[in-house]
Symmetry: C2
């Protein structure tokens, strides 16, 4: 495996040993998140509505706080971008990107598709990604040059159609497509072009595509902590990841990303391109 | 609980004791389905494409066969309507309605939202309903006059908005809305009116609404075995169930049903009514 020993990112100072260490740390963080979430689901927890009308619980806050403590202890010079607290050390070349609970609405209502999302970005590259589903006992994790895994089993997507009634496209709800900038017509075109779509909401949508259970994910107008982990997850699984929108919005940067099997990602990004060209 | 002793259906010959017996039988059938499905998921199974392009596996067939055997043994005068085999004793006043695996695509791809759906219809009334999710360890079950339960805990929906960013509407994919009769515009109107929708596909969509995790389900152009159980489940949980379309199609009867919390069911059925009135 000589290739795996080559520098894998644009910065040759980042060695495979570093990557392995960061990957192990991310897995321990996911274990710790699960240790907080699983017992908390059994008891009572407090639910608040944030300024943007989304929900937050004690659980979200406790997980983010604990993960920040772990990063502070292990990597005191790394930065942190998390959903529930302010950015820390934004000047660091290493940024941990945390969504302690993606799908808080789902968690609150006992729908098991929520998950903890973790990514480590180094300069321009996402080098580690984890999505952990406490309630489903499902985890996908990946690190650059090391591969992508679902519950420990190596993932390798094939770029071929699945034996389904049409392509299985996973999307965010129309709510996302009209957030900040109204791109509702893109939702309408995609649902007409790919009528066998699913909208799981929350992190499970990403996991389904990363693990080959669906063909492509279209995640519209979402925050960096909702989409960062999936970049390395899908790339290490043999798929592709395309950022098709990048807005600067009042509540922070919003991205639209398309990722999955290469041929279907190309077809879906073409829908965005066509609509762009048709604009006055 | 004197009220529970009153005749609960239009046929006074159906006693509470009968209902309890049918309910217990349905729960045993769901247990048996799980005993077939759970180990089968670990191994290899055969996947075929049916004439209507939908999928069927060995597992679907084995479950339906086994449930039919149980019905034959316990209730030899009852009829059976199942997805994978021809109707049996269609003249009987009792009809067991079986979808051995609703969401075969999901089962094939390891997405845990599939489920076994069972209903017993007596004359015009659905009197027992069960949806069982082997992979999620979640079951909802109900019988007329006996209540609705999720994993043994009584369900009681409140007709109030959830603390969500808009109403949580669960729908079938656009594929369903254009099946047999093109009602795509209804999908488009619903997704614009209720942008915070989810499309889980498969039985879990029903379970989410029956157990109050979402507000309303719109199941478009589907077969009787996809929608029968949910009628008694939602009614016993305190919600309402409305059949808004009933087509006679080449592959059999197709129904569109709307069910959930009463106020939101009224609002969604009004969308259908408005579009009907606007038609030339």
């Amino acid at each position: 495996m000589d290739e795996a020993r080559l520098p894998m990112t644009r910065d040759p100072r980042l060695t495979q040993r570093d990557v392995e260490q960061f990957h192990s740390a991310a897995l321990e963080m996911a274990d710790e998140a699960r240790r907080i979430i699983t017992p908390a689901l059994e008891g009572r927890f407090r639910v608040d509505t944030k300024l943007d009308r989304s929900l937050v619980t004690d659980i979200d806050r406790a997980v983010e706080r604990r993960l920040r403590e772990m990063i502070e202890r292990w990597f005191p010079d790394h930065g942190v971008i998390g959903e529930e607290e302010a950015p820390l050390r934004p000047e660091s070349p290493y940024q941990w990107i945390i969504d302690p609970v993606d799908g808080t609405e789902e968690l609150v209502h006992g729908i098991p598709t929520f998950g903890t999302m973790l990514a480590l970005q180094h300069e321009a590259d996402v080098v580690v990604g984890v999505i952990d589903h406490s309630a489903l006992d499902v985890r996908v994790n990946a690190a650059i040059g090391i591969g992508a895994y679902r519950n420990g089993r190596r993932l390798q997507l094939e770029d071929m159609p699945m034996p389904l009634d049409g392509k299985a496209v996973v999307m965010t709800a129309r709510l996302n497509f009209v957030r900040h900038v109204d791109e509702g017509p893109i939702f309408d075109t995609l649902t007409r072009t790919y009528p066998n779509h699913r909208i799981f909401r929350a992190a499970y949508a990403h996991t389904a595509v990363v693990s080959g259970a669906a063909d492509v994910m279209v995640d519209a107008h979402n925050h960096v902590w909702d989409v960062a982990a999936s970049q390395i997850l899908i790339e290490e699984a043999g798929g592709v990841y395309s950022i098709v929108r990048d807005f600067s919005a009042p509540g922070g940067r919003l991205l639209t990303v398309v990722f999955g099997r290469p041929s279907i990602v190309a077809a879906v990004t073409e829908v965005f391109d066509q609509l762009d060209r048709a604009r006055p």
